[in-house]
Amino acid sequence: MELDLTADQEVFAQTTTKFLDDEASPTDLRALRHDPTGFSSAYWRQGAELGWTSLLVSEEDGGGSISGGGLTDLALVSHQFGRFAAPGPLLPTNVVAAALSHRGSPEQKADVLPGLLSGETVGAWCWAEPPPNDRLGKVAMTATVTDDGYVLNGRKGPVEAGAQADHLLVVAQSDGRPVQLLLPAGTPGVTVVAAQGLDLTRRYAEIHFEDVRVPRTSLLGDASSGVDDIEWQLQLANVIQMHEMVGAMEKAFEITMEWMFNRYSFGRPLASYQELKHRSADMKAWIEVGHGIADAATLHVQGRGDRAGEYTSAGKAYLGVYGVDVLQDCVQIHGGIGVTFDHDMHLYLRRVVVDSLLFGTVSDHRQRLTTLLETKEDANA
């Protein structure tokens, strides 16, 4: 995305960068290590003012993009989130806001969107489920239709910002079809179990739903819109992850390059060893490929193209391997210091590893690609 920015996008990206530079330094991140929320509400409100939460929301709904293509703008923010390993529920809030703006009823929008847009409230997308229902696309949670609404039963997790969220957008099976239901976090029968997580500032939870009764108006869209909406939201989540991963790879690589020039062993800088030069060249190539596939996927999703799922899965399958490898190689080149808490490398390593595991693992996305290819072949036959 960074190759052909409009002047407005440049300013937008710079503003976010400057803000994160001031508010999300490695020292700030370390200070949040034991913070149960992982970000301060003032920080998140300021980010929202910069536009972090409004890019996928239509102008009629109070949002708006910089370039007309909200997802490419959001990609710029995600990229910086990767570069800074920045705190804040960027992914869940944007996915929930996008889903509401796209499909929400006027009441749902009025209830929830203003708070998400201003950063006063946070949304959580309850999509994943714990084992044994943790393969991509599997939904075991049920929403049983009653006379006046639904009864929800099941478990969701990991849910990012699950304990911090004011609104839950829950994926469940109803009459054999996946649907999404929007409910307030405090609804009776909902139990939030905070999880331990690899990321220093991102908080995850497992959420248990036990005979949770919600009115019919909780349904997002109708019973038939769920399949496509959930797929689209997954693609959005994957795009945000990919740009974060590329940003984190880039930053880790820059730190490692600087280290190799400054660190001397046997009387010469590490940067002068051919073996390390060759690995650096490979890493540079893999980062460029990361940019390429992340940008292509973003445009496919933004344009709602036929191949959007294919490109997002390809990106996740690629970055889940090469992104993680780049980060671990950066650690290796640092030697012992690279695996200490005081060094910054783990901030980016955590971010990349977490992004590689959530919203589809490498294996999930590889297999999904084959399924997509198969479907395409059947359609052509």
Partner: protein
């Protein structure tokens, strides 16, 4: 040429489409010929194919479709990369002169375009674009592949002529090509990069002996040439005397950037077209799915995962390469970034080759007539490293990227500031 006078791409496409249908035969296998060494033809068949492709090129030239991104004054069309892309898509179902693309149009013709004199350009570029001249690169030598600037083939001045002696190797199709671009040493008493010059020479002459080399897959496309007192007029020198490395650097850039520039034709199935039979970056997965279905292995989770992995790598490589090209065009990455694409091939590409072999299984090792495609996969795997060797090795690209793009310290060199004559040479080189 002012922007406004360029023919709109869609007009170009509308003009091209019916012409191709009326004048060019349909291809038996669309896209076939993307890799030059893939055919196993008899010599007679190969010569007939070369003649046929010259004729195709002539037809394109006469109809105003040859050299789309070459300037009009030298027989090209003076159009844009977007026109070439439209051409690549339109020509997909038809036969195309693949033997006249690389290295004739790029790097040879592009080097002439950049460094040739006006006279040289007028003599050769139209002749190349109309299919009369097929060019090859006389670059590598038996004594050193990657160390191109260490060329030992020597050119001695004799009046208005030069006399060349030495040997060149890895010249594709030199036995049927017409001309060669040759890097030779014109001064042994200065450091290696400062004593080189570039010459154009006719390949078919008594003083050049062309030997064909058999590769391990049976291909006999590569040649070695022995030059004995080959006389070249000074007017066939490109660039200044002893400034050959300036030309050579550009030459090598062109050698690594086919995919990023638009001087050559690379047939591409138009968006939405079924790509079976040919190949398009990003569509390998579809072929694997059909194969696995035929082999009854599509339900196997391991197979499904490998197919997905290969497809992901293919899309990622292709998008990565295209982004690097765009970044270079926009001046955001230096030309040295061309080496990154080699690394993509050498890492992601290698993994894709391994997957191809795994998916094919035992019939890649031994096959019958019914299963020749599997055999071809096996054979292709044996030459897996070709892409990491030809046109500069992967290791050289890694050096270039790390030193020139990332600014890391250069390798210690013992041949930089000494006369080339005094550079140590192994026992095999005299």
């Amino acid at each position: 040429m002012p922007e406004a006078s360029v023919e709109p791409v869609e007009d170009f496409r509308r003009r091209l489409h019916p012409w191709l249908e009326d004048n060019v035969p349909r291809a038996k296998r669309p896209g076939w010929g993307m890799a030059m060494t893939q055919g196993q033809l008899s010599d007679d068949e190969e010569l007939a194919e070369v003649a046929h492709q010259r004729d195709l090129q002539r037809r394109l030239f006469d109809a105003g479709f040859a050299g789309i991104c070459f300037p009009k004054e030298y027989g090209g069309q003076g159009l844009t990369p977007a026109h070439q892309q439209a051409f690549d898509e339109e020509i997909w179902p038809y036969e195309w002169p693949f033997r006249l693309q690389v290295p004739t149009l790029q790097p040879c013709a592009t080097v002439i375009l950049d460094y040739g004199t006006e006279e040289q350009k007028r003599q050769h570029l139209p002749a190349i674009l109309c299919g009369e001249e097929i060019w090859m690169q006389l670059l590598s030598e038996p004594t050193g592949g990657s160390d191109v600037a260490g060329a030992q083939t020597t050119a001695m001045r004799d009046g208005d002529e030069w006399v060349l002696n030495g040997s060149k190797i890895w010249t594709t199709g030199a036995w049927w090509a017409d001309w060669g671009l040759c890097l030779a040493r014109t001064n042994w008493d200065v450091p290696k990069h400062r004593g080189l010059s570039v010459f154009m020479l006719r390949l078919h002459q008594p003083n050049i002996e062309v030997h064909r080399i058999e590769m391990l897959n049976g291909s006999r496309e590569f040649c070695q040439e022995f030059l004995t007192d080959v006389r070249v007029p000074d007017t066939d020198r490109i660039g200044d005397v002893n400034q050959g490395w300036t030309v050579g650097s550009r030459w090598m850039f062109y050698e690594k950037s086919f995919g990023m520039l638009s001087f050559t034709t690379r047939p591409t199935p138009p968006a939405g077209a079924e790509a079976s039979g040919g190949f398009r970056a990003g569509d390998v997965g579809a072929a694997y799915v059909s194969e696995a279905r035929r082999a009854g292995r599509l339900d196997d989770a391991a197979t499904r995962e490998l197919i997905g992995e290969a497809h992901a790598l293919s899309l990622a490589s292709s998008e990565g390469t295209s982004r690097i090209g765009k970044a270079m065009a926009a001046g955001k990455l230096s030309n040295q970034a061309a080496g990154l694409t080699k690394i993509i091939g050498g890492t992601l590409g290698i993994r894709q080759s391994n997957i191809a072999l795994q998916l094919t299984g035992s019939s890649a090792a031994a096959w019958t007539e019914e299963n020749e495609a599997a055999g071809a996969r096996g054979t292709a795997f044996l030459v897996r490293q070709t892409g990491q060797i030809a046109g500069g090795t992967l290791e050289m690209s890694r050096n270039v990227v790390s030193e020139r793009l990332l600014g890391m310290p250069r390798e210690l060199s013992v041949d930089r500031d000494v006369p080339f004559r005094d550079v140590p040479r192994g026992p095999s080189a005299h």
